[in-house]
Symmetry: C2
Subunit: 371 residues, 2 copies
């Protein structure tokens, strides 16, 4: 169903996007401010259900890329992703009929909405990651045969770079990352130009709606004094993300974090009580694996989310701090993100992890998580 997104939806959407960002995706708070400004100036945004998209509509996804740690210090004006879209349209000699997110997490749930509000383009309710991932080839578009190239990168001065690596989406990521680093660590992009048919065949559907549902569930739980993760589990059970497991609860006792090679990389340690086994969460922008005393509780591409233990507010990797009381949850990804092709693109081995992918719902059958 095609629907309209307005100012009143933004708090819930940002909260849900932060959770689906699994620690990464860039700060959704900043994105929310940009969307709010764009809606106030231009009116509400049309969210287009992928099934209602014409096969021949030309869709250009838009996003921010870079290290989330840098986004906190270098806030975009809102014009940059539109400049990237315009640079790609100019290069292709063809106008987009819609934009959409490349990932449904953090600021990248918001960037296409900013573009939609500013240009009047509808935003397709779907994305290419079904969560957030750190690299541009880690998209279901790529897994299922769409070329990311040509892609455009733009900065706030109107400078642009167009990269064309034909079918090689990994090389596109490699070159785009180099440019993003030289632009100061954050840039805005337009990539994976494709038809409506390709969107329907390769995107994870209705993830803007999903983010809203997740955000609303957390709010509802707070208002009704229900345990937020119970409310979340109920909400997710009827979606493509049907399994939620509480993995651990405790205090953040250590965060090691470096902004390196254009990413925020590191590890967080969570302790339930002194002397007890500690939960280690390794991240590259996003949370990749959660290990308790040598046992893996959840691993990428399943979602690992760190929530405030009190109010279930999602905590992004760049905002993790010593002393935070947190509840760590695992959520199953949709089946299309667990196929052999998908795991070859964004499974544990793609991040240098030794783990085999095992679904979070099976890991939690094997091991009873200490809570």
């Amino acid at each position: 169903m095609t629907w309209t997104l307005d100012l009143g939806d933004l708090d819930d959407l940002a909260r849900g996007a932060a959770l689906l960002g699994t620690g990464g995706g860039g700060d959704p708070y900043i994105g929310k401010l940009l969307v709010a400004e764009a809606i106030r100036a231009n009116g509400p945004i049309t969210i287009l259900d992928p099934e209602e998209l014409e096969d021949d509509t030309f869709v250009i996804p838009t996003a921010q890329m870079g290290a989330p740690t840098v986004v906190l210090e270098r806030i975009p004006s809102g014009a940059e992703p539109e400049l990237a879209l315009a640079a790609l349209e100019r290069h292709l000699g063809r106008k987009a009929g819609a934009t959409m997110p490349i990932e449904c997490g953090g600021i990248n749930s918001m960037i296409p909405l900013v573009v939609g509000a500013r240009t009047g383009l509808p935003v397709v309710d779907a994305d290419g990651m079904g969560r957030a991932f750190p690299e541009l080839h880690m998209e279901t578009f790529s897994v299922y045969g769409v070329s990311g190239s040509p892609m455009a990168i733009a900065d706030e001065r109107g400078h642009s770079v167009v990269i064309d690596t034909a079918e090689d989406n990994r090389q596109m990521e490699w070159l785009a990352r180099g440019i993003t680093i030289r632009l100061g660590g954050v840039a805005h992009i337009a990539e994976y130009p494709m038809t409506g048919r390709q969107v329907k065949d390769t995107a994870v559907p209705r993830t803007i709606t999903l983010a809203l549902q997740v955000g609303r569930a957390i709010r509802r739980a707070r208002e009704t004094h229900v345990v937020p993760t119970d409310e979340l589990a109920r909400t997710l059970s009827s979606t493509l993300y049907s399994n939620l497991r509480v993995l651990f609860e405790g205090k953040v006792v250590d965060v090691e974090r470096r902004t390196t090679e254009g990413f925020a990389k590191g590890q967080a340690t969570v302790q339930s009580a002194p002397g007890q086994p500690e939960l280690k969460i390794t991240f590259q922008n996003e949370n990749l694996v959660a290990v308790l005393g040598g046992k893996t509780l959840a691993v990428v591409p399943d979602l690992i989310c760190v929530l405030d233990a009190e109010n279930a507010e999602p905590i992004t990797t760049e905002r993790l701090r010593y002393g935070q009381r947190v509840r760590v949850i695992g959520i199953s990804t949709p089946d299309m993100m667990r196929t052999p092709e998908a795991l070859a693109t964004f499974g544990p081995g793609c991040f240098g992890l030794d783990d085999e992918f095992v679904p979070v719902e099976r890991l939690s059958e094997r091991e009873s998580a200490s809570i």
Copy 2:
């Protein structure tokens, strides 16, 4: 005068180009092989005198960029610069009527000839550096108001990147260098697209001819048993490069060299006799400054060239070795490269040197060089 370059010219041209490269510009031997192959396949190349260029001819210079140390290990096929030209033509929607060198040194005297032979385009007898420099904004085109953007970078797989930083040629260099590093340290480019009028207003004229004259002078000296630097000085006295000074003669006793940030950077030490003051030559791809016992003998943008003491063969920075007997010479650059605007772009301060620019002919009046 427009003339034709054929196989018989290539040895002299490569030798002259190596000298004008002032230690950098990439290995001309590899470039010579590429041009010879292209001429054998396609016939001789038309060299177009800049004064005979129509004002509205569309000229796109072509070149290789990267660290000369890498070129030795990663030899191009010859197709790459043509792919860069084609990528820029496609982006602009306009075909070039001629190509030309961006620098008259090393391999970059040869790359546009490869393009000329392969495409049939004439090659303008002029360039944008009057020697070799390590960075893309260090061109007389840039000094006198031409935008380097849009520029294209291509690799051997047909991948391409188009960079558009509007008037900001330094930022163009910064982004292009990042891409070149990620392409393995060497790439091929098409940049500073401009009119024939702009070529005439901003290029250093007749530097392909100059390289040929220099290469021939060295050969002639060898054949007639004349001191090569005397023969060279005679040849240069009637050109825009009218002053040659022999700065030092001795043995290379140390070479410190790193391939870093996409450049070959380092320092060579030359000794005339044990216990005597040593000549230190600092380089960033090209030789930047020659200092003898604390006294500067020549500094960028004047040319500092290291020649084999016996046969005056030019030695590039990546081929400097312990034990080589060398004669180091300084050559004055044309006046258009010594203006305040020019020195602000490629004077000593642009390379982090503390030296003020003083012409080599005045430095040699002040100090009598020890030979």
